[in-house]
Amino acid sequence: MRSKKTLLAVGFFLLFSVMSLVGSEANTPPTPEVKITPELKEKFPMKPHHEKLAFKCTDCHEGQGDDPENFKAIDDKGCLSCHKTKQFLADRLKFMDALHTNPHNSIHDGTKLYCDECHFEHKKSDNMCLSCHSNDVKLWMRPTP
């Protein structure tokens, strides 16, 4: 999967290219387009930090056709195509290691958890730490993005 940042850059480039190509046949491979309607937005809401990047459905659901109803959850590889590596994410929260509260490098699981044990794009995320530390998590970290 290509990096989303690269995609954005390519997007702008293509926009200008297309302007100069008006009248001639654009020779790009057919990527399925999903029209994002208000209903679709309501059914599959996106996280604000992803929404403001103006992602299309198929940026993440790559090669899954053009019907959102049939899209499958993307796996860790999909998330990490932008978010680098689990070690990178753990290091970013290294300051939490001092109190053993780094959710990306916990005493129990290290850096091995699936992203979607906790993080969900189209529904509310669910902090796995809460299943045992129900009273402590609010002191340890903000709501799971």
Binding site: I107, H108, D109, Y114, H133, S134, N135, D136
Partner: protein, 521 residues
């Protein structure tokens, strides 16, 4: 006709037979016998398949893999380790190298006597004897795999006659699971598949031996379902062959809302447990379906030291066991009176709490103590208990009584009498041993402040399970002999702990019998 091979056309043919045919069809579906090797096409082939990634499963896998076998480990959850990564990492080892180093006298007979006392004498002693013989080997094997244990004097846990419990360096079972996981994955031909659920055993064509499993990959466990085992339809089906056999190490069923309630109707569906969500009975029941002997299934140990004011294990068990129970009291909020020996065994105390909760389901008893009742080791956790809200602090007994709606005068009378008994060295109404330590002093210091935690029993460990022999082979109820190709270890087995398990013996049981299964398969 087996469920595996029935096509839609077959179903239509059966339908044509009329209602009698349909009745027979649904009967055979309800029985859902395990498929045989003739019914399936194997997608992949391994020497050994292990179900579960806790202490028992990984020990079995590591041992089998070390012997050169190609091992596949299936884990239905996304996380590796189940209950084994959310416990305190304590392992009781009788006659250990640690005890020798720190000059502690112990013996195998003493260990077995302790287990039998807590287990009400119904333990299967040959399994305890096996633990005595092999626990040190299991400890050494965990170290070989990379586990690190604190190099300090072994801890002295409740019910043990000697200090014999080692604790991992990070005070979690993950101190064993993480290195063992890496050890297994480094060995050629071995892999762990998470989010992969075993559905059925695959039997030999004559139905006597286990030769593989059916499973679903990309399985997403759903804790919101009443029974994930019965209702969850996620994932894609695969069939795996196990040339040497299958090790079932799928754990206990403290979170199985249906099966635990069948054994103990006090365990209502919405009741919390100290276990992870995936601790269900599905794989255990599959082993029963192919004829394994059940042992002690309805002995479910409940922690009387847990609190309804937090989920799971939480911090209450530490604060009550090492803070409020030894010198403090637990009272019935309806009358302000004590109702149990706060230092009795787990079962006695849980039963006493249930007497109250059956009469008044929300009248959670309250444990009360003062600063002097806490042991030094839990001082750092006191703040955690207070900030999280599990424990509350009051300047006066009147304020405490008002908060929990306890009759204040009755509560004061209870504590006055309790303190007098402690001070005079006379036996209190529940014959609490630990009060002897405070003769001449107040057990609960009346100057306050007072600390309080609400109590509820939570399912913690399911003692029962499959019958195994000392080689970790599962015994058949059809033949009273081992089921060829089926081994089991850990909480999915029964008998070892009898009616009630002593603290820190679960890790010993799991690592020892997991290793033995890996040696014998």
């Amino acid at each position: 006709m087996s469920k595996e091979t029935m096509s839609r056309r077959d179903a239509l043919k059966m339908g044509a037979l009329g209602t009698v045919g349909m009745a027979m069809l649904s009967a055979s579906n309800a029985m859902a016998a395990a498929p045989t090797e003739k019914d399936v096409k194997f997608d992949e082939e391994y020497d050994v398949i292990v179900i579960g990634t806790g202490f028992a499963g990984l020990a079995a896998a590591a041992k089998a893999a070390e012997r050169g076998y190609k091992v596949l480990i299936l884990e239905k959850m996304g996380r590796v380790g189940g209950n084994s990564v959310i416990n305190g990492g304590g392992m009781a080892v009788p006659n250990s190298s640690w005890q020798k180093k720190y000059g502690i006298q112990d013996s195998g007979e003493l260990f077995i006597a302790d287990c039998l006392k807590a287990g009400l004498g119904i333990n299967h002693v040959e399994l305890l004897e096996t633990i005595v013989k092999r626990a040190q080997d299991a400890l050494d094997f965990s170290i070989k795999c990379g586990a690190k244990w604190q190099d300090v004097k072994p801890a002295w846990f409740g019910g043990h006659s000697a200090p014999r419990s080692l604790v991992t360096d990070n005070m979690s079972g993950s101190g064993v699971i993480k290195p063992m996981h890496e050890f297994v994955e480094k060995l050629p031909g071995c892999k762990i598949m998470t989010r992969t659920k075993m559905d059925d055993f695959v039997m030999s064509s004559d139905g006597t031996s286990v030769v593989g499993v059916t499973a679903r990959i990309n399985y997403r466990f759903d804790p919101k379902l009443l029974s994930d085992d019965m209702e969850n339809k996620t994932g894609e089906k695969k069939v795996y062959k196990a040339k040497k056999g299958v090790v079932l190490a799928s754990g206990g069923f403290s979170m199985d809302k249906i099966y635990r309630k069948l054994q103990d109707p006090r365990l209502v569906e919405d009741m919390d447990a100290t276990n992870h969500d995936g601790a269900t009975a599905g794989a255990l029941l599959k082993a029963f379906q192919i004829g394994a002997f059940p042992v002690h299934i309805d002995w479910i140990q409940q922690g009387p030291w847990a609190s309804p004011d937090e989920r799971g294990f939480g911090v209450a068990p530490l604060l009550t066991q090492q803070g409020l129970f030894k010198l403090g009291v637990a009272v019935d909020v309806r009358n302000g009176k004590r109702f149990m020996n706060e230092m009795a065994d787990r079962k006695t105390r849980a039963d006493a709490e249930y007497v109250i909760l059956r009469e008044a389901p929300k009248a959670y008893p309250v444990a009360i103590g003062t600063y002097n009742t806490f042991e030094e080791q839990v001082y750092p956790i006191m703040e955690k208990g207070l900030s999280g809200g599990v424990m509350k602090k009051f300047d006066t007994l009147d304020a405490l009584a008002a908060n929990y709606k306890i009759p204040a005068d009755a509560l004061k009378e209870t504590i006055k009498k309790y303190n007098e008994d402690a001070k005079n060295g006379t036996e209190d109404q529940f014959k609490k041993q630990s009060l002897k330590d405070v003769k001449g002093k107040e057990a609960i210091e009346m100057k306050g402040p007072f600390y309080a935690i609400r109590l509820v029993p939570k399912p913690h460990h399911t003692m029962g399970g499959l019958q195994i022999n000392t080689k970790a082979q599962v015994i058949s109820a059809n033949t009273n002999k081992p089921i060829p190709g089926l081994y089991a270890a850990g909480e999915v087995t029964g008998g070892t702990h009898g009616a009630s398990r002593l603290g820190t013996v679960a890790v010993t049981d799991c690592l020892t019998f997991g290793m033995i299964a890996g040696e014998n398969i």
